[in-house]
Amino acid sequence: MSSDRDAAIVGIHEYPSRDVEGEVSPLQIKAESAARALEDAGLNWSDVDAIYDAGDGGGMGGLNIAEYFGLKPNVIDTTNVGGSSYEFHAAHAKRDIAAGKAKVALLTYGSTAHSNARAIGVGGRGGPGMHPAENMDAFAGMTLIANYAMVARRHMHQYGTTSEQLAEISTATRYHAMRNPEAVKAMEDLEFLDIRETTISDVVNSRMIADPLHLLECCMISDGGGAVVIASPEVARDCRKPPVWILGGGEATKYPENGGDITTSAAAQSAPQAFGEAGVTPAEMDIAMVYDSFSITVLTLLEDLGFCKKGEGGSWVQGGKLRFDQSGGPALNTDGGGLSSNHPGMRGIFLLIEAARQLRGESTSQVADARLAVAHGNGGMLGSRHAAGTVILGRD
């Protein structure tokens, strides 16, 4: 049985640029972010004894990243489950620190997806040969957005969810993005046409990309990266910033099944583990950092995390309650999210970073006296095979 004070986030950094114009590599973004996050914690490279790496720097992450950083870690965890990798890493770091295997864990991310102008969305690809599922799916021409759109279509069919309800997700995140100078700069650098707060009508009248998802329901493709430092209670006590405790974690995966329900994600399995370990409930969450690749991702995940019943997400999100200055629900993606701040392909690390900012009181859309946050990463693709990582965070 783990205690709720096993490990804490003590250092964070979000790489500020969303467009590095091809002049900085993913590895360089990872290293710079790591250095800044260690400084934020008041630690140094030599304090790090555990590395968690999704392989985004190229090559075999587990073999190469320690050398690049110049570290000799005792724990090397190379879990790669796409955008949810960092929630898995955080939960694993808590487990490894609690087991006495490590004292200071380093998680890093770097991507130049925008500079590369490449298709993103699946971080989990790799290894030799082809997965048999790929040999079944490729002929149909399912785009990334269509994959998620099919969840939205089925959700609408099964529960009566509307585009206007889904648009609540987009307007809430943009509301937060407009308060975050880095998000505004990102939208400028990525040449968004109309940088302002949006209305429900703006979203549902934007261009249809893959029915029923509109342009303003889709995340951006940016460059970016970041780092998170997680430490034992003994180390955390002497760090520069107040500790953000990792109270619980859960992980799961889901894939297409004959007769399966596409409207329920792997979060329905990971969330009870995380909330159970933390001994808290969704209703107690001040902050919900929920992977917003698309509007439907958030709606589905909010239901599966237990904020409302399955199928009731559409009516539950209505009325602006996900905004940081409204009551009745958690503040959603207060950095502006993947929809309006950054999405370099695997944005799970930013969920941890912004949740930590909130619990330190450092957000640009700060919720007064925020005490508890959930960070939920969805990796892979919601409408087919994906992974879910749920992490519950709390301050002293």
């Binding site: 079944m136 002929f139 021409g141 269509a146 099919m150 279509r153 297409p256």
Partner: protein
């Protein structure tokens, strides 16, 4: 004439090769376990329902229904970019298998969840592709 082709499945992928072999005869084949009755699709060597499974090949009647779908209006793929708008759908075959495919031969706005469809084979040199049209 657009000479860029639809992505053609590989016939040497170890698990799914037998399914694609069947399409040469325009047969939609799937597996079912003789012991636990689990329908296995995509095809595999092992039963996902029990550890001592005995998988048997069966042939679907080729009919099913649309579980969910999307109309793709933007694609950067060299083949599919010229196909927009087109319908991508998860199809539930009446015998149980769920397959990702396209609904063709109908205007995208006339496709709906629950719609009954039947397989329509798109012919290629090495195999045939199971697309679906409303019944």
């Amino acid at each position: 004439m657009n000479d860029v082709k639809r992505p053609i499945p590989r016939s040497d992928e170890p698990d799914t090769a037998a399914f694609w072999q069947g399409t040469k005869e325009k047969e939609f084949r799937y597996q079912q376990c003789k012991r636990c009755n689990t329908v296995v699709f995509y095809s595999r060597r092992h039963c996902t329902g029990c550890t001592d499974g005995e998988l048997e090949w069966k042939t679907s009647a080729g009919t099913g229904s649309v579980y969910t779908f999307s109309v793709v209006r933007q694609s950067y793929h060299p083949f599919f970019r010229n196909m927009v708008p087109y319908v991508v759908a998860w199809i539930d075959m009446d015998e149980g298998p769920r397959i990702l495919s396209n609904v063709t031969g109908v205007a995208p706005e006339d496709v709906s969840v629950g719609q009954k469809v039947q397989v329509e084979w798109e012919e290629h040199e090495t195999l045939n592709i199971p697309l679906f049209k409303p019944i």
